[in-house]
Every structure is written in structure tokens, then in C-alpha cells.
């Protein structure tokens, strides 16, 4: 009785100090492998075994999800597992992953090109193991006078491509009216708002644009050269551009738009259906798609008839070999926990959970990781 009370009190202590640790790590960004802020040390003895400290670095897009996962896992499953995740961005995360200064990396774009080569060079030609953890949708948010979140507008592919490319410049353009019968549009110039910082959101968005828009010459990347428009720093910057300027339309992360109740447009998908962005429609984008061997799945234009057209995955990268068994076993169970029991958190935060078929394949791949 007394013992269990003691344990639970200690467990809550652990979770508090872990939350602090995560925050510190996220802010400082200087933590290296195995280095945990000393605040967690006294609390670590609370569980049965030895504390395992894991460090990861990478994408900022899934950072809120990962931090909730790691915190919940520590609180509910294993109080010895302490993960600090630094959301330093995919590029910086991949560099740390290649350099071996973290236990896992995270990226919004599959590892490729010269980074893939230098990983192979550094690890005896072994392939990096990337597993998808969650998906996310990118929405077109807009600001029109007298339009609310409920009154959605629809945009066909040619229409939003025309806005992005600068061919459609006013809201009273016949193309927009044709997509929305019975809706009055004001005579208002259109301003395109985009991310100015390098971002996984941009990568997912232009991946789609590059596929469906004829005349797009910007290519695919985390930051591209936009033909028109104004830039905003982060989701909050783009959202401010949109919310403070009537007539502005731009792309933001679905979760961010939903949380801030910014009106977002229904978009035409590959089957010609107009789909309003929500988590369910976004998850359909990954359904029935052949997942490649390395999980480097990109769905620039999902074929499912009810799928929302702009969605992408985010990956965690683990090493093909770990030296410390405890490190790997803990990391593996955390990742699998996130993909299964952690899905409640995934949906709660408006990310797209991975379907069972993908989870099973991830399990198989993770089983193949060696420990010596």
C-alpha cells in the first residue's frame, strides 16, 4: 500500500521532470548523446531497472506529437525511458543522425541524395532505416470578408494552380465562380501567402503542386522559389499574413488551421471530387497505396476517390545496428507504442495515424535491427 503510493508519487515526479527535460532540450538544442539534464537524475531511480536516456533530433512538423508520445510513454508505460527530442529541423536532424550524435533522427522528407551517400559511406554501406510515424495534411486557408469557417469554398485543380502560379489574380475570376455555384465573390485582389522558412509543410505542398500543376517550375524541396506571393515565418507567420489581410490565401498545416479556426478550402482530388480537409480524408490518401521497401512513400496525388489530395508522411530514422541493447529495446518499444497505443494522441493532435498494414511492416523492419 505504502509502497505503491510511493511509486506513483515518484512516477509523477518523473513525468514532471521529463517534461522539463524535453522543454530544455527543445530550447537548448545542444544536448548530445546520453546527456540528460541533471534534473531527471534523482527521479530516475523510481522504476525497477536502469534509466535509459535517448536523444533524437529532427523535423519540427511532428515535434508536438513526438513530445507528447515520449512523455506519455514515460508516464504510462516505462518510467525508465527518458527521451529528449530536439526539433532542430529535418536538415539539421539528418546531419546529426549521419554524424551519429543522436539515437534516432526525424525527417519530413525521405533521406536521399548526397546525405544518403554519406550515411552509407559512414556506416559500411548499410542502408538507413526510415519508418513512417504519422501523416499530416496541408490545407489552403483563406481570408475573405464575410466568410466564416462553416461557409467553405471549393477550388478545382486548375483554379488553385492558377492562384499559385499567379495566373488568377482576383477573387471575382470566373474560374473561382465556376467552382462555387451560387456564392458571391468580392472584387478583391488575391494575395498568395507561403512559408519563407524551410519546412516539411512546404515539401508536402509543393510535392503535390509539382505533380498536378502544369507550368510549375519551382521543383520540389523544403524551400522553393515562388513565382508570386509573400512569405511568412512558420505556420503562425503565414496564418498572420492570411488573417490580417483580406483576400489572402496560403497553405498551412491542417492541425494549425483547425486549432486556430481559419477557413480552409475544399480541394478537387484526382477523381474529380471536392474534399474538405479533415484527418479522416487525409488518412485515406495513404490507403491502398503500395508502400516501397524503404517506406519512402510520397503521395503527391492520391488516387483514392474520397481522399484529401495534399498529405504527406513524417519519418523517424534509426540505425541498422545499435551497440547498447537497452537503448535499442527501449527505442523500439517506444516507436511501436506510438504507432499502436499512441494513436489516440496522434488523432487528438490532428495528425494522421498510420494504417495497420504499415504498422505491421514497420514492426518487421524494426525486428531486423541488429544489436552487438
Amino acid at each position: 500500500m505504502l509502497f505503491s503510493k510511493l511509486v506513483s508519487r515518484r512516477a509523477s515526479l518523473v513525468s514532471i521532470s521529463l517534461a522539463t527535460a524535453v522543454t530544455i532540450a527543445a530550447c537548448g538544442g545542444g544536448t548530445t548523446d546520453g546527456e540528460v539534464p541533471s534534473a531527471t537524475e534523482p527521479a530516475a531511480g523510481g522504476g525497477s531497472g536502469e534509466a535509459v536516456a535517448l536523444t533524437g533530433a529532427g523535423a519540427s512538423f511532428p515535434a508536438p506529437l513526438y513530445q507528447r508520445w515520449f512523455d506519455a510513454y514515460n508516464r504510462e508505460v516505462d518510467s525508465n525511458a527518458q527521451v529528449s527530442y530536439q526539433s532542430v529541423g529535418s536538415g539539421a536532424g539528418l546531419e546529426q543522425y549521419i554524424a551519429g550524435t543522436v539515437d534516432f533522427g526525424a525527417s519530413d522528407a525521405p533521406i536521399q541524395g548526397d546525405r544518403l551517400e554519406s550515411f552509407k559511406a559512414a556506416y559500411d554501406d548499410a542502408d538507413p532505416i526510415q519508418v513512417p510515424m504519422a501523416g499530416g495534411a496541408v490545407v489552403l486557408a483563406y481570408n475573405l470578408p464575410d466568410f466564416t469557417v462553416e461557409e467553405e469554398i471549393s477550388l478545382a485543380r486548375e483554379t488553385y494552380c492558377g492562384i499559385i502560379l499567379g495566373d488568377i489574380t482576383n477573387w471575382n475570376d470566373p474560374a473561382i465562380a465556376a467552382d462555387n455555384e451560387g456564392v458571391e465573390f468580392p472584387d478583391l485582389p488575391i494575395t498568395w501567402a507561403h512559408r519563407s522558412d524551410g519546412s516539411g509543410t512546404t515539401f508536402i505542398f509543393v510535392n503535390h503542386v509539382n505533380e498536378v500543376c502544369d507550368g510549375w517550375e519551382g521543383g520540389v524541396g523544403t524551400s522553393v522559389d515562388w513565382p508570386v506571393g509573400v512569405g511568412g515565418q512558420g505556420n503562425e507567420g503565414v496564418a498572420a499574413q492570411i488573417q490580417q489581410n483580406e483576400g489572402t490565401i496560403g497553405y498551412v498545416e491542417y492541425a494549425y488551421a483547425k486549432l486556430n479556426e481559419i477557413p480552409r478550402a475544399s480541394l478537387e482530388n484526382a477523381s474529380g471530387n471536392f474534399v474538405y480537409p479533415d484527418a479522416e480524408a487525409a488518412s485515406l490518401a495513404f490507403e491502398g497505396v503500395e508502400v516501397p521497401e524503404d517506406f519512402g512513400l510520397l503521395v503527391p496525388d492520391p488516387s483514392n476517390a474520397d481522399a484529401y489530395p495534399i498529405a504527406g508522411l513524417t519519418w523517424i530514422l534509426v540505425y541498422p545496428e545499435y551497440e547498447n541493447e537497452a537503448t535499442w529495446e527501449t527505442l523500439k518499444s517506444i516507436l511501436l507504442w506510438g504507432l499502436t497505443d499512441g494513436q489516440d494522441i496522434t488523432t487528438e493532435l490532428d495528425y494522421v495515424p498510420m494504417p495497420d498494414s504499415i504498422v505491421e511492416r514497420v514492426r518487421e523492419v524494426l525486428d531486423g535491427v541488429q544489436v552487438n
Partner: protein
């Protein structure tokens, strides 16, 4: 260098001629300790410079000096040019100075004269120092959510009445070089005020008394005697503020609009070197990182040139005194 040699020679002589009392050892130890500290600062600077140069070297050899004069920024096809950022850095810092220098020097004069009681003066200067303590990310968020919506009517007015001047042309959207300049001027004003005020306070009282005795009004005393006498300190503070304005990162990234194009209008979104590095570094590919290091090197060089010019100006004015 020569003074250092002379110093150590003197110490060596003393070492030979006098016996080693503990006091002398402590004295000598202190000399070497401070020497090591001073040298380590210089070494640190050289080391950082070298590191950045090494990281930037591939980009320097690929893009050369053309990097400084071209205007495209396209990470996907690896085409890079820094001219819009160089322009944005210089213009936003200069406009910020234009606003902050008269205000800052004015406040410094006010606080160093006996217009109001000491306690009030101290309260005001403490408030000013508190402005300096606001984290720049907070100022940036304040800019996005409060300052920009507040200033928008003013921008629209400026654009509709003075739009024929290229400086105020374009369509005012809030996130612009002018917004950045205004917030930067708030950030650098405390630097100008506190250093200028310190300088003015330390002027010998005879200057003021003499001017007054000759029949000068307070206005004349301030403009003709006190400010010229404290000019080296005031210019020093301005140069320090300029360096701060050029290097400011977070506020720039959040408020400048980050458009990688060149536009004469202050009301158009622009970009600065620091904001470019901050917003692109996290997700950058390898070549892009090298290019960003090159951009950092350019910024360091620009700051260096400004510091050298500042030293020269200060020296010149000190000679006049």
C-alpha cells in the same frame, strides 16, 4: 604589441632584481592570467571565422563574387544570389538608425540635464534598460500580432499619399522592411541612450559652467559644447547600435516578410542576411548550408568594415578634442 613586449620586459627585470615575495608572484600570475584571457578571446574569434570559412569554401569556389550581385534564391536548382539580402540588411539598419539616433540622443540629453529630479530620471532610464531586456522573439510576436495590424492604416496612408516616391510604392501589407526598421529602432534605442547618457554625464562640469559663464543659453550649451565634446561616445554608441541592427535575427525573420527579391519600396517585404540564415538553415540541404555559411561570412565582413570605419571616425573626433 610593442607595449606588451615592454610590459613583459619590465616584469622580467623586476623578477631578476627583486626577490620573489608572494605578492609579486600573485601580481605576475595575474598578468599572465589576464593575458591568456585576452588571447583566448582573439583566438576564439579567429577559430570561428576559420570554421565558417572552411564550411563556406565549397560555396565560395562555386558561386564566387557573383553571389553578391545576383538576385535569385532557388534551393531546388541550387541557384543562389545574396543581393536582396545585402540590400535589406543595410537599408533596414540605416532606416532604424535614422529613427533611433535623434530619439536616442535626445533622450540621453534630457536624462543628463537637470530638467527633472534624479529619482524620476532613474525611473525613466531603468524603463529604457528594461526595453533592452525584452527577448527578441517576444518583440517579434508582438510585431506580428500587435504592431503590424496597428500600423497598417498608417502604411496605407503613406502609400496612397506618397506612393509616387519609389520608396513608398507597392501594396502595403504590413510585413516589410519599414516594419522591421521600426521595431529594430526600438531595440537599438536603449544602446544609444545608455552609452550616450554615460558619455554626457562624464563630461567635465567645467565645460558646462564655462559655456554658461560666457552667456550661452542652455540650448547653445547642449548643441555647441556638450554634444560636440561627447561626440566620440555618441558615435560609438551609434556604431554599436548599427552592428546590433544588422545582426538581429529573430525579429528580422518574423517581420521582414522574407521575400527574396529586390524592391526599392520600404513597404514591400524584403529579407536580411540574418533572417535568411535563420529561416533556411534548419531544413537546408548540404549545398544550401555551405551557401548560408558564405552568407554568414559576408555579414561578418560587413560588420567588420563598419567597425573599422567607426574606429576611424571616433579617432578623428578624439583628435579634434
Amino acid at each position: 604589441m610593442s607595449s606588451f613586449a615592454g610590459e613583459s620586459q619590465r616584469f622580467t627585470k623586476q623578477m631578476i632584481s627583486k626577490r620573489n615575495s608572494p605578492e609579486r608572484i600573485a601580481d605576475q600570475g595575474f598578468f599572465w592570467l589576464t593575458l591568456v584571457m585576452a588571447a583566448s578571446v582573439a583566438l576564439l574569434l579567429i577559430w570561428i571565422g576559420l570554421q565558417i570559412f572552411t564550411a563556406a569554401f565549397p560555396a565560395i569556389s562555386t558561386y564566387g563574387l557573383g553571389f553578391l550581385t545576383s538576385t535569385t534564391w532557388n534551393p531546388v536548382s541550387n541557384v543562389y544570389g545574396l543581393l536582396p539580402q545585402i540590400y535589406g540588411t543595410l537599408v533596414s539598419a540605416l532606416v532604424a538608425l535614422l529613427i533611433a539616433v535623434p530619439l536616442g540622443v535626445g533622450v540621453a540629453v534630457f536624462l543628463s540635464e537637470d530638467f527633472i529630479p534624479y529619482t524620476l530620471r532613474d525611473a525613466i532610464s531603468m524603463g529604457i534598460e528594461l526595453i533592452a531586456a525584452i527577448p527578441s522573439v517576444v518583440l517579434g510576436l508582438w510585431g506580428i500580432f500587435v504592431f503590424v495590424p496597428f500600423m497598417r492604416p498608417f502604411y496605407t496612408f503613406l502609400n496612397s499619399t506618397l506612393g509616387w516616391i519609389p520608396l513608398f510604392a507597392g501594396s502595403p501589407r504590413g510585413f516589410s522592411l519599414l516594419t522591421l526598421s521600426l521595431v529594430l529602432s526600438v531595440m537599438i534605442m536603449p544602446i544609444i541612450i545608455s552609452i550616450s547618457r554615460g558619455t554626457l554625464n562624464q563630461l567635465p562640469p567645467e565645460l558646462r559652467l564655462g559655456a554658461m559663464a560666457l552667456g550661452a543659453t542652455r540650448w547653445e550649451t547642449i548643441l555647441r559644447v556638450l554634444i560636440p565634446a561627447g561626440l566620440s561616445g555618441i558615435i560609438g554608441s551609434v556604431m554599436l547600435a548599427l552592428g546590433r541592427a544588422m545582426g538581429e535575427t529573430m525579429v528580422a525573420a518574423m517581420l521582414v516578410g522574407n521575400a527574396n527579391r529586390l524592391s526599392a519600396s520600404l513597404l514591400d517585404p524584403g529579407s536580411t542576411i540574418a533572417s535568411l540564415i535563420a529561416s533556411q538553415f534548419a531544413e537546408a540541404g548540404r549545398v544550401q548550408v555551405q551557401v548560408l555559411m558564405y552568407a554568414g561570412l559576408v555579414l561578418m565582413f560587413m560588420t567588420l568594415v563598419i567597425n573599422i570605419v567607426a574606429e576611424m571616425i571616433i579617432k578623428k573626433f578624439q583628435n579634434i578634442e
